[in-house]
Amino acid sequence: MKNSVSVNIARFVALMIVQIYIFNNVNLFGYINPYPYVLFLLVFPFTSNRALYIFIAFLTGLTMDMFGNSGGVHAAACLFLAYLRPVALRFSFGVSYEYNAIKLSKVSFYERFIFISIMVLIHHLVLFLLEVFNISNILYTLNKTLVTSIFTIILCLTFNILFSSRNE
């Protein structure tokens, strides 16, 4: 248990550093900044206390907001992600999720891809809706959500595949 805590703290710090130092400054095509820090919330132990998980998600988002001067948009997006994770887990892994503790590194690539995609899309949709904060720019918001999600999903999958084998 203690090991799991330290692993998660290390993962949090590492992803935050990478996010703030590198991915917040990517500005691909002028407006795309992928947010692979959500991977921390995606792979957070599935069996953990749900209230704790929601609270940690809030703090993770708030940290991002502090660095980005964005008010509470990341916090809100992370909260949605955390609250809806069980739904996405059930949808992508079926009944097996409810019976035994599955690990993201042990499921097939297809299931993993579906799970990460759903979560990233939810997070980015809430994030950009709140960031643009203007319903008349809805097409711009959706476009930004979609394009940024593609890059975040690719990054999350890459990180997940690269680092998951070592954790086992």
Binding site: R50, M66, N69, V73, Y83, L130
Partner: protein, 281 residues
Amino acid sequence: MHQIINFLIRNKHFLLFAFLLMLSLVFTIQSHSYHRSKFVNSANWFTGGIYGSVTSVQDYFKLKTYNKQLLEENARLREMLKSPNEDNLDLEVLTDITSPIPSDSLRKFSYIPAKVLNNNYAKTDNFITLLGGSQDSIHKDQGVITSKGIVGIIDKTSSGYSTVLSILNSNFTTSAKLRASEHFGTMQWDGEDPNIVQVIDMQQQAPVKLGDTIETSGKSAIFPKGIPIGTVNEFELDPSKNFYTLSIKLINDMTNLGHVYVVENSYKKEIIALETQQDEE
């Protein structure tokens, strides 16, 4: 009572979610109105310190650019010294030279150098973090410029750091005028291209031409008059046919900022006091 407690326990996750969501929405809404985000901003020792350590590394790679910018500015200032003419020299400077009164008491604007720690331009509401805060006499509502043009307005300060409401922020507006005449409009940003800003509500009589320079009008008490903003890229009459809407190509490259100047207007308190007095009457 028993049922209420049961209800709370059963829905505790949802309630926690709803409570924290409310909190983050409050932060979000605060951040969308100018000067309201009290808690969540990067002008504190923690975030400022981390940005500072990144910048110290990045600075080595940008030394060449900074040097070039400084040389250009030096050249321009030398040029101004050599040929004092009305275009470049403000009236205040002239009175400075000729007046027997010590120049400090006459000078309207003073400039404080500051270093950029973090700069965003890909979002709809962008902020810049500066190294330099209230102990360097940087305070909120001061203007921020570079040698080439305007950058933004100071939003929050801590003792050592400050955040700037960038001109690339949907909450930013300032008064802008044509260099060739005194016609003015309101400058704002539509959130799309970081090189293009908009000037709206410029009188239809204004002699607008493509390529004309747009500069600050000096009406806001934040920026001095005549700080360049950009050149006219496109313009059209709005549907009411009374006002021009201009799209302006920025002279200043907002995606590449190193060192900036914070502008302090020593008469600002006086001007604001006078204006509020007028409003009350």
